[in-house]
């Protein structure tokens, strides 16, 4: 009967699987876990290879045996009645003991690896605190006094120890090419450490891996491994207060407001480092790190309005908008919120909205206009701000009374924020 086709089917599957497996090791899989870029992954992959070695043997043995039995013992017309056996103690003992022996070969390196990576990080490790939020990542470097969001810089060759906590529900921190994942949660502090030791600077995608609500899929981040020198430069830049272009040009509107603003900016500049720090060059970012999420239909901003955005006006607008209640910009004395991501060096980041969009003027403007449309339930606290937009959660139209912003005002704020390198 049809049983005869089975082996071919099986063979076809195995044949189809092999090239896929080979392809998996090549460069077109930018989030592959099969990398040699950290001590952690080398360890995990060593373990994987050991297991795959035995798995292949067991798989081939079992399936070949099965196929052989199906061929050899299929019913033939007029065939004899089968010889009756109902057990064989020696055989059964063999296939009980053999797997047990194989498991020893797997268990020993497993246990070694468990203890190696769970006995505390090396003393010289760089400390990074990761805090998961619905749905974005907060990264803090306590030694460097840095607070940033959604983009992580790691020096090559130095172990890094992550302390993982959550502000709300459980999240899971994962950069597949660098290490395994660890959960972040309230009331428990987790750790994870590894040493990125690739030769060249690289950029990676990271993601949340524990289901954390509506926008779980949109909780992504980026990690850059850079040289120690670049890292130091980056760290110095990030640790400093926001740099904001000095005093308004001569043509700036006169009056009390302008004066206060000027005074404030002067202070800001005085406290800030003179130059922005290192940032991973945009031109060197591999394509998979650049977000390609489409903009939702019906959400637009006119090019000319966007281009006309003025940073100085934006600064004023920002400083009296509802933004300051949730976001912090060190150097802007009115922007002190801590609920949302720290925006002090927003302009130095390459992505927006937890890795969902490229961080350019257009996306930032649309994000401010209607974040809840850009990212489902982006957050109950990041409101829809564009005048005339419909809030997808509240189902109401945003008006000036509700703190709505015109496209022009948004463009100004964007211009301001993009200066925060």
């Amino acid at each position: 009967m049809t049983g005869i086709f089975r082996p071919r089917q099986l063979a076809a599957i195995v044949a189809a699987a092999l090239p896929l497996l080979l392809a998996a090791c090549s460069g077109q899989y930018p989030n592959s876990t099969f990398t040699q870029l950290t001590d952690f992954n080398r360890d995990a992959n060593g373990l994987w290879n050991t297991m795959m070695f035995w798995a292949t043997i067991v798989f081939v043995f079992v399936e070949v045996l099965l196929v052989y039995v199906m061929f050899k013992f299929r019913r033939r017309p007029g065939g004899p009645e089968p010889v009756q056996t109902h057990g064989n103690t020696k055989l059964e003992l063999t296939w009980t003991v053999l797997p047990a022996v194989i498991l020893v070969f797997i268990a020993v390196p497993t246990v070694k690896s468990i203890w190696r990576f769970q006995s505390g990080a090396p003393a010289n490790a760089l400390q990074v605190d990761v805090i998961g939020h619905q749905w974005w990542w907060e990264f803090r470097y306590p030694e460097q006094n840095i607070v940033t969001a959604n983009e992580l810089y790691l020096p090559i060759g130095r172990p890094v120890n992550f302390t993982l906590r959550s502000a709300d529900v459980i999240h899971s921190f994962w950069i597949p090419q660098l290490a395994g994942k660890r959960d972040l949660m309230r009331n428990r502090t987790n750790t994870l450490w590894f040493t990125p030791d690739s030769v060249t600077p690289q950029a990676f995608n990271g993601s949340c891996n524990e289901f954390c609500g509506a926008s779980h899929a949109n909780m992504r981040f980026r990690a850059y491994t850079v040289s120690q020198a670049d890292f130091d430069s980056w760290a110095a830049g990030q640790a400093a207060n926001a740099i904001f272009p000095v005093a308004p040009p001569a043509a700036a509107p006169a009056g009390a407001t302008a004066t206060t603003v000027a005074a404030t900016t002067q202070d800001t500049v005085a406290a800030a480092a003179p130059t922005a720090g290192y940032a991973f060059p945009l031109s060197e970012l591999p394509p998979h790190v650049l977000p390609k999420t489409p903009i939702p239909a019906g959400l637009t901003i006119a090019d000319d309005v966007l281009a006309a955005g003025d940073a100085q006006r934006g600064f004023q607008q920002y400083s009296r908008s509802s933004c300051i209640g949730c976001h912090k910009i060190r150097g802007n004395p009115s922007s002190l919120g801590v609920i949302g991501p720290d925006l002090t060096h927003l302009g130095s980041r390459h992505t927006l909205a937890a890795g969902l969009f490229p961080n350019d003027a257009r996306h930032l403007a649309l994000w401010i206009k209607n974040a809840r449309k850009m990212k489902p339930l982006a957050s109950t606290s990041m409101p829809t701000l564009g005048m005339g937009e419909i809030d997808p959660i509240l189902k109401t139209t945003v008006t000036a009374g509700l703190g709505g912003l015109t496209d022009q005002q948004i463009s100004d704020i964007v211009a301001y924020l993009m200066t925060l390198k």
Binding site: I131, R165, S166, A167, R186, N187, R188, T189
Partner: protein, 113 residues
């Protein structure tokens, strides 16, 4: 009738039940242990000693076993019932101990500062 009686006298009834005398003694022992436990609770030196918790656990286990053996007549009943009870009890205790080991470590934090 005799047959009927015979079939009724199946193993779960064919054994000796404990008697009133035994019941009385069991009740007395339970009372004494309970009284001792409560007394121990009020002796600060005892409470502070490292034997306090093990002692209470042993006494409570003793009461547990006595009730199960005599009042639930597991001592006299069919072996099957012993298996039906002790099996799950062992799994339940192992689970309890495993959970305590795994979850004793969490710390309540006020929140993320």
């Amino acid at each position: 009738m005799a047959n009927d009686h015979g079939s009724h006298a199946s193993p779960d009834h064919a054994h000796e039940h404990p008697t009133w005398k035994q019941y009385k003694w069991v009740a007395l022992i339970l009372t004494v242990i309970t009284a001792f436990e409560v007394w121990a609770y009020y002796v600060p030196a005892l409470v502070a000693s490292p034997f306090f918790v093990p002692m209470l656990l042993i006494m409570s286990a003793a009461k547990f076993v006595i009730v199960v053996m005599f009042y639930m007549h597991l001592k006299y009943d069919n072996r099957l019932f012993k298996a039906l009870f002790t099996g799950p009890l062992i799994i339940a205790m192992a689970t309890l101990i495993g959970l305590l080991f795994l979850l004793a470590t969490h710390k309540a934090e006020g929140g993320i500062g």
